[in-house]
Symmetry: C2
Subunit: 136 residues, 2 copies
Amino acid sequence: MTTSLADTPELTKNQSLVFDTLTGATRPLSAYSILDLLRDEGLRAPLQVYRALDKLQEAGLVHRLESLNAFIACRQSDCCAHPSVAFAICEICGQVREYSDDSLSKRIRAWAKAENFALSKTTIELRGVCQSCAEA
Amino acid sequence: MTTSLADTPELTKNQSLVFDTLTGATRPLSAYSILDLLRDEGLRAPLQVYRALDKLQEAGLVHRLESLNAFIACRQSDCCAHPSVAFAICEICGQVREYSDDSLSKRIRAWAKAENFALSKTTIELRGVCQSCAEA
DNA sequence: CGAAAGATGTAATAACATTACATTATCTTT
DNA sequence: AAAGATAATGTAATGTTATTACATCTTTCG
Ligand SMILES: [Zn+2]
Ligand SMILES: [Zn+2]
Ligand SMILES: [Zn+2]
Ligand SMILES: [Zn+2]
């Protein structure tokens, strides 16, 4: 089975369907939106989507946006190499820019070390208006 | 009406109830937990809590933790002076540390400026294990 | 083959949040 | 004080997001 664009880990049918849906989207999708888009492909229940999303997140192919309760496909080739990724979410058009800033994650790790906080995951989400929406 | 600890803006009855509940808690509370704690005080419906939380957030007295769908009272006197606040959430005990790191927010604002992203709000949430839980 | 692990299908329910509408309190102006 | 405006409240219903429970099927591997 080689359905998807990035088949780093071999994806199952449901995982591929969900991943391809996210890859084709230009904005974050909620689990239920994904489900609706995949009804014709045979998906019937939320759990089918949530299970696929879990695996895709573990594989680093998909990110969850906490402030949106929604998901996007990873757009950064070297995303896994960076300890913390940031997302800039446009409040007008809904588009999301993913970026890594090493000095940002360095600062965070320094704070964690100084405070003896054993860091396992960081969430950085920026809200605002993107350049093209500001121009319009 | 001067019921609450920090009455910077004059709080209404429901706002005070919700704020005092959060101030008394040692961990983040969900809106529905707050509601349950305030049934005896006369609160009946989720909306009563959500409305109070909205006002308290506007006033900067309460923060929403996006990755937890929960709320905490602000514990930083000068929180509003800092453009972006970070939260370190312990995955064992549930306690949350709130801190401000100016160089962190400087980095974020620099990125936003370079990318012409009109930043309105930043969410920074760290997950991990706090010092006392690591020692235990 | 047969056990174990993983993936799937389905239903039900839990948890979180908002819309809509009616009412009451507070403040402002006359 | 009366009238009108604004903000807060009460209540019900509904919408949205996520998980639990249980049965079935598939793949892997000794
Ligand atoms: Zn990524
Ligand atoms: Zn935009
Ligand atoms: Zn604060
Ligand atoms: Zn802890």
